[in-house]
Subunit: 213 residues, 2 copies
């Protein structure tokens, strides 16, 4: 079936199939992708340059789903918290994707727009320009690290070789398991960071500058 009248493939379709493959099998391959789309492997290369571009496609599609979740009108602390939660949830829902993504540079425009919104909210909150990127990096580290943590096995630390009363074994026994554990740690980290930021904020700042878009 060469050159069908209307194309069988397009980039969004490939992105969707790759994400589904990733969710189902923890990884994806070009042959697997082609098979799930009912198409020859070589056909994929008419729409993407290679496997890496497929990954970037998936990153972009996730970004869109996350942008719509954030409401930027409101107190800065709440905006930032919402952004980090949206980020962590969007990627936390696809842990295999996160592991694949950490190998590549951020290029998807949707993601960049999202970071731009965050930078804007922080600036309006009274943080100085020279601190902005460091704050963003810390929040990014938290969100991505926590998204990976969602994917962690139920028992992150194997306490088999430890004495039952060793501090680590006690700590593991006292904490919840699975997603409850990951959620609690994430909220703790987020709270600690936001509290610390609040205390370091330029004190006498009253709100967004008048010419902010």
């Amino acid at each position: 079936m060469p050159r069908p009248p209307s194309p069988l493939l397009d980039r969004p379709t490939i992105a969707r199939a790759a994400l589904a493959e990733l969710d189902a099998r923890e990884t994806f391959t070009m042959p697997g992708l082609a098979k799930s789309l009912g198409v020859a492997v070589s056909s994929l290369y008419h729409h993407v340059k290679g496997r890496e571009e497929v990954i970037e496609l998936v990153r972009g599609s996730i970004a869109e789903s996350m942008n719509s979740d954030v409401d930027w009108s409101g107190e800065w602390r709440e905006c930032v918290a919402e952004w980090v939660r949206a980020y962590r949830n969007a990627f936390g829902a696809h842990p295999a994707l996160v592991r694949v993504l950490t190998r590549q540079t951020v290029a998807a425009p949707g993601i960049l727009a999202s970071y731009d919104n965050l930078a804007s909210a922080l600036r309006d909150a009274g943080f100085v320009d020279s601190d902005l990127l460091h704050i963003i990096t810390v929040l990014d580290t938290l969100a991505l690290g926590s998204a990976l943590d969602v994917a962690a096995p139920d028992d992150v630390w194997s306490t088999e070789g430890l004495a039952a009363d060793s501090p680590l074994a006690v700590a593991v026994a006292a904490a919840p398991r699975g997603s409850e554990r990951a959620d609690a740690a994430f909220e703790l980290g987020l709270g600690l960071i936001l509290d610390g930021l609040e205390r370091r904020r330029r004190p006498n700042h009253e709100g967004p500058s008048p010419r902010a878009s």
Copy 2:
């Protein structure tokens, strides 16, 4: 050359070669590893069960180098800071390894001992058992996320498509580059988290319990 009088291979040697390969080429393959050791690929399988076990071997070897760096006698805040820094530096020096490691569970005993020391220091500092694992998870997320950040390209966010006065572009322009940027963000995050922990610590705690080992 079958069955040489003294073995050509052992596990520590394999671990060293794998780390070198990882540092040099961002990834490692079993054929590449065998070649660098001057040995047939199939020989490796007499010492390790497969590629995954090689990775776990490397994790363990890094753990050892990190444990010796921490001095646990001192004020808790300094101990914890030292631990997180040692962690981040040990893995930050081998970014490709970090990306490979996030796919696997923690099993290396050296790493477990290190977490146990951390749990002990936190308990002595007055944190309650039910918070310990969440605190450890937050510190872990910071260290590992920051280690990945060390590996990030010089320009993490491509500002090409953005207006020069967009908040993100301004933030990028105002921040240092490369390892200086990653270091500053790491220290900011660590400071924020430790400050927040200090304020949430059980207030009237005076030091390690007498029967602490």
